[in-house]
Amino acid sequence: MNDALPSLALEVRGLAKRFDRPAVDGLDLSVRVGEFYTLLGPNGAGKTTTLRMVTGLLKPDHGSIAVYGIDALADPIGAKRIMAWVSDEPMIYDKLTPMEYLDFVAGLWAVDSSLAAARARELVTWLGLDPYAEQRCEGLSKGTRQKVALAGALVHAPKLIILDEPFTGLDAGSARVVKGVLRDKVEAGCSVIMTTHILEVAERMADRIGVMADGKLIAEGTLDELRHQAGSGHATLEDTFLALVAQGNVAQDTIPA
């Protein structure tokens, strides 16, 4: 790995995965260091499959993935060390308390216990989990469980945070807390890639937005750039998104290099 700080947090080239039909079809995607990137697309567009391949949960059929310059296919452990994955279904253990869960995750990432304990306490407070910190997760609400999962993703201080529909099932208060935490992480230099169906979240938080359909990136850019690509003037992101998806593959040729 080069000593110089890479400019890209994630670089995906020609990524492909086929199940019954192509789920991801020759995808090229770049996310800059310190960028909040949101991936939009209709159901079945290939967003989750893409992110699962990036995090090493799925093996691609073709293509390359580099995380902060590390070839994630050749050195998956090296890439995983600096990544965190949060799915829409919180991956936590009912019989552990949030603090025990954070201790377990810190163990998986081999984080020093004193450092992990300090970070865990900070995260628990930050995410408003103090009242539940020593209760088993089995009785926690969906939103609280999602916050515990997010704390788990952050306890090993990842450089790249990948989230798949993190706001599903969150109430307004919890969603605001999570958004705040993610924004703070980006300001601290982390990169975030997130899929969402909540366009308002993408509109407010993303530095750049990618739109996928049928396994391909059909549009990419800032909100203004997307409006321009869609020819939708000052329309909302929702109008722009629907216009882009309707245009389908035509937009593929218009993505800026």
């Binding site: 949960l57 810190a106 020593e134 089995e138 009785g139």
Partner: protein
């Protein structure tokens, strides 16, 4: 088609669901397997009928005149069968309380839920009867063939026993709910069910050990001393046995009592099922009490973190713990035998070897399923910077550590009494648990830990391979403990089984 909301309509609905569930279970969702399943059933039926013939043909008196010996043996068999039925009924009733499934839909609809529960209680009778008849029917058929049509009464007796078992199970489960609340009932009811199921079988073994100094058999029921102690032939205690051999009066009384018992249970408790089911909702929603001491962070390697996690999750789940350790209930007779052989200074300790090996294989398979297939956060583990090989090794260590904790004391005590047998037991326990663990790794399928009881349905190949490997290693251990070279034969058989399982496993296909 019946009018919606009526008992007949619910019965049709339940029958359709049960049929589709059963077909899916048998064919694993592949229609092309149906022919194989049918052929398998025919082969199984022929095999069990052949076995029943071999067992029953030597019996001199099947004509229907039951002497004292026959009454004791038939009654003993009925008690054994009924204890199994009651155990299964307890499980079914408890499951009906806790399985959410479609209950939210039913309970929020304007229909009378009590009708559905009445149908479900009746369905339990049918299910339990069918399970009992899988092994019972061939014996009854052979008895009819050899002894005459009066043995058909045994089918009616089986139905009566199933009705009694369900009626009592409903009463027991509701009583447990009232007495200890929904949170504890789930665990306690499962334990009660297992103890009831095992009690008679284990009791007979205890009696046999006391009488003969060795394990098994129903032969203890034929002891002259037991027959002499039994009441005279006119006692009501023999009515079920008399009904089996075709006494119409005894059969009528038995059926009548059972129908009334089931009807009372349905009448009294079906309307209350809804409230009890709703009470179980609070079990999953209730928050646990906070820990008294805050969690301590550990400096751990990923492997240590994984091992600790597996053991913590198991220890904190009393239901899962009871399900896992229930397999060890059958170790009670060997413990007793061990104690007795010490007392008598006998050489029966070698008999323990195969039992320990079988139990370790079963426990190893269960723990491995929990660690591998029952992983609640597979994405978390897969996205961690830990090589998959190290994850598997850590989980294997967690499983084998659990096996060592359970079986270590047995082997240690055995080593004092019979060092050679202990050495064989040690090797057998390790290799049986290791084989079962490996099979679970090769056939892993992601599932919720709560589905532990249905783990066998995910892969029948894995289930049979695991069972055959445990039994095969037990046979190898049994021969080896007696110092005979014949141990090689079952040993090679198991190696072939385990190798065959690997050859057809999804894990091999993935690495090929």
């Amino acid at each position: 088609m019946s009018r919606p909301g009526t008992i007949a309509w619910f019965a049709q609905h339940e029958a359709r669901l049960a049929w589709r569930d059963w077909v899916s279970l048998m064919t694993a969702g592949r229609r092309r397997r149906a022919r194989t399943v049918v052929l398998g059933f025919i082969a199984f039926a022929l095999g069990v009928h052949g076995f029943a013939y071999l067992v029953l043909a030597p019996s001199a008196n099947l004509s229907g005149v039951a002497d004292a010996h026959a009454l004791v043996v038939i009654t003993g068999t009925l008690v054994l069968a009924w204890s199994m039925m009651l155990s299964q009924a307890m499980e079914s009733v408890t499951r009906a309380f806790y399985a959410r499934g479609d209950l939210d839909l039913i309970l929020t609809s304007p229909t009378m839920a009590s009708r559905l529960f009445a149908v479900r209680i009746a369905a339990m009778v049918v299910t339990i009867l069918c399970v009992a008849l899988v092994l019972g029917a061939p014996f009854i058929n052979v008895l009819v063939w050899l002894g005459g049509a009066h043995w058909f009464g045994a089918y009616a007796v089986a139905l009566a026993l199933a009705m009694d078992a369900v009626a009592i199970a409903v009463v027991l489960a509701v009583a447990l709910f009232r007495a200890i609340g929904p949170r504890r009932t789930r665990v306690i009811a499962q334990i009660v069910a297992a103890v009831i199921g095992a009690a008679f079988a284990i009791g007979v073994q205890f009696a046999a050990i006391l009488a003969f100094g060795t394990i098994p058999r129903m032969a203890v029921l034929q002891l002259a001393s037991l027959v002499n102690l039994a009441p005279d032939g006119g006692s009501p205690i023999w009515w079920p046995a008399r009904a089996v051999v075709g006494d119409p009066a005894a059969l009528a009384i038995l059926l009548g009592v059972s129908i009334v018992a089931l009807a009372i249970a349905i009448y009294l408790f079906a309307p209350r099922f809804g409230q009890l089911v709703l009470a179980t909702t609070s079990v999953s929603r209730a928050t646990s009490r906070p820990r008294r001491r805050p969690a301590r962070f550990h400096n751990a390697t990923p492997a240590q973190a994984l091992r600790r996690k597996e053991w913590t999750l198991l220890l904190r789940d009393p239901w899962l713990m009871s399900q896992t350790l229930m397999q060890l209930l059958y170790l009670l007779p060997p413990i007793f035998l061990l104690w007795r052989s010490f007392y008598a200074g006998g050489g029966a300790a070698a008999l323990l070897v195969p039992i320990l090996i079988v139990a370790s294989g079963q426990l190893g398979g269960g723990l491995a399923w929990l660690a591998v297939s029952g992983e609640d956060a597979p994405d978390l583990i897969a996205s961690a910077p830990v090589p998959p090989g190290r994850v598997l090794r850590a989980k294997t260590e967690a499983v084998l550590g659990g096996i060592a904790i359970v079986f270590g004391p047995f082997v240690a005590v055995l080593a004092v009494a019979a060092p050679f047998a202990a050495l064989i037991a040690f090797g057998g326990v390790a290799i049986a648990a290791g084989s079962a663990t490996a099979i679970q790794f090769w056939f892993r399928t992601q599932a919720r830990r709560g589905l532990f009881r249905r783990r066998q349905t995910s892969s029948r190949v894995a289930t049979f391979a695991e069972a055959l490997s445990s039994i095969g290693w037990a046979g190898t251990g049994a021969f080896a403990a007696t110092g005979t070279w014949l141990a090689v034969i079952p040993g090679l058989f198991v190696v072939a089984i385990v190798t065959g399982a690997w050859m057809i496993s999804p894990a091999r296909r993935a690495t090929a």
